[in-house]
Amino acid sequence: MKARLPLQLLAVLLFLFLYAPIFVVVLYSFNAGRFGLAWQGFTMTWYHTLAGDSQAIAAMKNTLLLAVISTAISTILGTGLGYGLSRFQLRAGKWIDAILHVPVFIPDVVMAVALLLFYALLRKWLGIFELGLTTMILAHVTFQIPFVAIVVRARLHGLDPALEEASHDLGADAWQTFRHVTFPLMLPGVLAAAILAFTLSLDDFVVSFFTSGPGSTTLPILIYSSLKRGITPEINALSTLIVMASIIGTVALMLVQRRNEHV
């Protein structure tokens, strides 16, 4: 391939472009000045303020709780879905596929208001689903399932069917085959899908924003409403922590995927 240099230059520029925001946030979380770009000295004050901010801590708890519960549910449901779609040919397969992809392509705001309306109607007719952590969990699972299913299905596609056939030939029934052969082979995919679902939940703002209730503020919602008042260094500190968590999560995901490829 000729002309490597312009390509390399472009690549470097693009990476700088992608990382500039992250870098800026981390940098300014240590800035002693409250306003503006002027650097006024290094400080950890904002992290101290953050530690004492009960709203932020509550939001952190909510965010994690929401992510863990929704990931658990969606991983189970999505894995079943991915497994089923991969192993069973269905006449309606194409339609199921299409419906499954709706949460992926739909603009989040449309999905969010649809859920808001749905919950309002249910509340009117059945008196259930007050807005809160429950409604948010249900909403998150809804957009997580397709991603889990897609990842698991892709993983299963890559597996050699001969292994499962061999298991049957040796006398194992369906459940035993699944438990001892298919599932362990599928596991890296399931894990990757779970990490994917977890990060999707952590990251979500729009859907959470519309389906949240009192005391169920999550970190993205907290950041947004704080931003509406003006950037504070405390927000930078909070964001830095979140960014660090994301980086750790991403690296973990990549490592798991690497193991995927070696199996």
Partner: protein, 344 residues
């Protein structure tokens, strides 16, 4: 597992679940930076309760949240004057049981028994204030006008408009000498064009707190904000001023109200009574720097604040201030115009 143990466990779980209904919790839905956290903490200690605070930046979003499902989740809201009649029409508010709120008598006669809620049936006045201009002060003696926003020749620098339709139209309608409750299409279209022209020259639309911060951080030279933010800004930066333009502006009254399906109604009324206490009322206003409607609290307010025209306007200014009224079906006109402004 033994049958008895199972039922015992079940009973325990059920009692824990139902205990949520009327235990010592309180859900407050209020404007951001509108209450002293210490006041809340003291209430928590006194009543062995836990108060959750959720905030909003503009009244319409609050109503949207309540209407969309918050009315059985939150106990207390702080609606502005014009919104109270809407909320009572939608049956979103619970009547205040006056025997639980004896401190209602502390309210100043001007703010007790307001026209939008005769007899304080649903609400108790919380804070009142104005809409005005927050500027990096120039000439102290010059009486500022809305032309700082609407006249390109007079614009002092980057400006910030307010992201709330009634407040933004207050500025435009008052600039042209009309009522801020106008439903005259000609006047409204004229106001819209003024705002559109200003929009092209402005940095952004922001809430009151964000506008104050933009002026404080020197990103803007003028912003349309509320009086409390103005007073707090002035205290933080002596080079800024909050002023009410000479063409007039808006005076508003926010009230505490208990929601119709509030899960903790008794505690909510206790909270209202607590806020109406003379000393607490003064602490509140000393923190928020908005004006207090509590006559009994006046002796405990910082004397400087009482003399500050940003917080307590002089009588001649008061004459130029108008309350916002709910416009019923005509609200759609404003909504349509707001979309037109944002979409162009």
């Amino acid at each position: 597992m033994c049958k008895y143990k199972f039922f015992g466990l079940l009973a325990l779980m059920l009692s824990l679940l139902s205990a949520n209904a009327e235990d010592n919790k309180l859900n407050l839905f209020i404007w951001s930076e509108y209450i002293d956290p210490q006041i809340v903490k003291d209430f928590e200690t006194q009543n062995n309760a836990k108060v959750t605070i959720d905030v909003y930046e503009d009244a319409e979003s609050m109503l949207a949240k309540i209407q969309g499902g918050g009315d059985a989740l939150y106990d207390l809201v702080v609606p502005p004057d014009y919104m109270v009649s809407v909320m009572t029409h939608l049956e979103l508010l619970a009547p205040l049981r006056h025997q639980n709120v004896p401190n209602l008598t502390n309210l100043d006669v001007k703010f007790a028994n307001p026209p939008f809620d005769p007899g304080n049936k649903y609400t108790a006045a919380y804070q009142w204030g104005t809409v005005g201009l927050y500027v990096r002060s120039g000439d102290e003696k010059l009486e500022p006008s809305w032309d700082l926003i609407f006249d390109p020749a007079k614009q002092p620098g980057p400006i910030v408009l307010i992201d709330s339709v009634r407040d933004m139209f207050t500025a435009a309608l008052k600039y042209k000498g009309h009522s801020l409750n106008s439903v005259n299409p000609k006047e409204l279209l004229e106001a819209r064009d003024l705002i559109l022209a200003a929009k092209k020259r402005c940095i952004s639309f922001e809430g009151s707190v964000a506008g104050e911060n933009k002026v404080l951080s020197k990103q803007a030279a003028a912003a349309i904000i509320y009086s409390g933010e103005g007073a707090r800004g002035m205290a933080e930066d002596k080079g800024t001023r909050y002023v009410i333009p000479r063409e007039g502006s808006q005076i508003w009254l926010d009230s505490l109200a208990v929601l119709a399906r509030a899960p903790h109604r008794d505690l909510a009324e206790k909270f209202v009574n607590y806020i109406l206490d003379a000393k607490t009322g003064a602490r509140l206003s000393n923190f928020t720097r908005f004006a207090t409607p509590n006559r009994a609290a006046i002796p405990f307010i910082h004397p400087d604040e009482l003399k500050n025209p940003a917080i307590y306007p002089k009588p001649e200014t008061m004459n130029k201030l108008e309350f916002v009224h709910d416009l019923g079906a005509n609200t759609r006109l404003y909504d349509e115009l707001r979309t037109q402004i944002k979409a162009q």
